[in-house]
Symmetry: C2
Subunit: 346 residues, 2 copies
Amino acid sequence: MSLAAQVLDGNRLALARLLTQIENNTEAGREAINELFAYTGRAHLIGVTGAPGTGKSSLVNQLARYYRDPAQGATTHTVGIVAVDPSSPFSGGAILGDRVRMRDLAGDPGVFIRSMASRGSLGGLATTTATVVQALDAAGFEVILIETVGAGQAEVDIARLAHTTLVIEAPGLGDDIQAIKAGILEIADILVINKADRPGVEITERALRGNLDLAHPNRRLMTEFTESGHHGAPVRKEQPDNNAGYGLMWSPPILRTVATEGIGIADLGSEIERHRQYLVKTGEYKRREQTRLASELELMLQASLVRRWRSTIPDDLYQQVLEQLVDRSLSPWQAVQVLLAGDLSI
Amino acid sequence: MSLAAQVLDGNRLALARLLTQIENNTEAGREAINELFAYTGRAHLIGVTGAPGTGKSSLVNQLARYYRDPAQGATTHTVGIVAVDPSSPFSGGAILGDRVRMRDLAGDPGVFIRSMASRGSLGGLATTTATVVQALDAAGFEVILIETVGAGQAEVDIARLAHTTLVIEAPGLGDDIQAIKAGILEIADILVINKADRPGVEITERALRGNLDLAHPNRRLMTEFTESGHHGAPVRKEQPDNNAGYGLMWSPPILRTVATEGIGIADLGSEIERHRQYLVKTGEYKRREQTRLASELELMLQASLVRRWRSTIPDDLYQQVLEQLVDRSLSPWQAVQVLLAGDLSI
C-alpha cells in the first residue's frame, strides 16, 4: 500500500511520516501529494494569528475542543492543528506550546496536531505549510486550524492560505502595538479580544474599532445601525446587520473571549460558521481557494526557476560576480544583469 | 546634474526623490544606484528590532540624538534612520511613529529619516530596504539605524543587512513572548532591556540570560567569570570578559535602558562602538558585508528570473494550468512541471 493510500485509510502514523517527508521536501513526499491532491478541498481552513502574548495557543486549543464537542446539537468535526512559528528560524520554538496542547487533546483520534518552524527558508515556509494543510485535508480532517505567532509577512501568507482568518488581540500589550494594527486588521475576517477579563479591554476594543473603520470603510455604516443595546454583557458580541443578508461585503465582528476559562468560545464558533456560510453563498469560498492555489503555484515556480537556472551557470562566474560586487566595481543591478546574460564581458 | 550627482552633493530633496524612485522600483532609481554604489560601504549599519511594545522608536530616537551630540568628547556622526514596518503590507502604518520622531529631530541637517511599509511584496521589502540603505550610505550618513517592528523573517533579513543588530526587550510583555526569544536571540549582537524602570525587569533579564546561554553556548563560560559585583545598579551593564580581547566569538551583552528618559543610552552607544571595533579587528566586518551583498544578489536574481520566465510563456497556458489546479486534475507539483516544460501535454 502506498504512503498516500495509507493516509487515505486513516493511518495516523503514515500521516505523520508524510508530513515529515513534506517538511524535508523529498521526492516521496511530492509523489504522495500528487496522489492525494485530488482528495483535498473539503476542509474549512481557519487561520489564527496575532501578536505574542495574546493567548493564541489557548484559544486554538479551546476551538479544537469546541469542534470535538460543540454545544446545542451542532455537528462534531474532526480537527487538524498546524502551529507555525516563523520567528523560530533556527530552533523549534513551537514545540513548547505544542506540549501544553498535547496534555489537553492527546488521545482523541479526531484531532491531529503538527508544529512547524521556519528553518530560515524565505518563502519556503508558506509553501510547506500549504502542503502540510493539503495532507491533513486529504486525510479527512474537516476543520484545520492554522496558527502563527508574530506580526508580519507570515500573517499575510496565512490570510492567503485560510478561508477564515481570526486576528487575536489582548488588552494592555503596550503602546506601539497600536501602530501595527492597521495592516493586520485588513486580513481579519473575525477579531477576537482574548484575555477579555483583564483591565483595559474597553480601550483595546475602542482602538480596534477605530482602526477597523479605517481598514474596512464599509463597516462604519453597518455598526452605526447596530451599536445600541449590546453594552454591559461580560462577553459581548458585536452583531453586524444580519438583515443586510450576504449582499455586500463581510463586516468583521469584534468578539471577546477568555480562552483559559472557555468563555466566549461557543459564540466564536458560531461566528466562524456564519463566515463560512457567507463565503459559500457569495462564491467567495471558491474565489479564495483559487487565489490561494495561484499564489502557492507562484511560490513553487519561483523556487524551481532558481534551482533550474543555478544548474546552468558555471560556479566560478557566480563567484567572480560576487567578488566584483563586494569590490563595488559592479552594482547589485549590474551583477544581476551579468548573471542573467551568463557572461561577465557585457 | 544627474540625480546621483545631486545626492552626492548633499541635496536632501534629491535624496528623498531617489528613495521614492527606489521604492517604486523605477529605471531612473536603478540607474542612480548603479552610479552611487561605488560610494557605499562607509556607514555603520545598525539594526534595531524587537516585539511591539518594547519602545524601539524611542530608543532609535535617543540613539540618533546620542550620535548627534555624544557625551565626553566622542565624535559626532550624521545619522540616517530607516523605519521598516513589515506588518503593514497594505497601508503606511510606520508613518505614525515617524511623526513622533520628527518632532524630536526635525531641522537637524545631520539626520535623515525614512519610513517604509512592505506593501505586501514577498522578499521585495528586504531588497528595497537594502537599496534605500545604500542610497543613505552613498549620501554620506555615517551611522544608519534600521528599525523594524515585529518578530519574524523580517528580523532575520535585518540581521543580514546590518553590521550590528540590537534586539530590544521590555519587562512584562506577556507569557508566550518567551517562546519566540530563542530564535530572535541568535541574531542579537547586543540585547537591550528597555523600560527597565518597570516591574519585572529582573525576571526578563533572567529569562534573557537563560535563553542567551542556549543560543550562544560559548557565552556561558564568559559570564561566569564576570557575574559578581554588578548587582544593584539601577542601569546595569554586563561586561563580557574584556581581557579576552577579540580572540574568540562576540558574547552579546545585556544592557538596561529607559529610552524615554535617556537613561542607559550613552552606555549603549559605547557598547555599539565596542562591537564595531570587534567586527573590524576580527575581519567579521568585511565578512558580514559579503554575506549581505550575496543574499541581496540572491533575492534580486530570483525576482528577475521569474520576470524573465513569465515573458516567455503564453498567458493562456498559465491560465489553463491554474484551472486544472483548481479542478484538482493537476497537483501543485505537477502544475509546476507543466509550466517549466511550457507544454500541457507532458
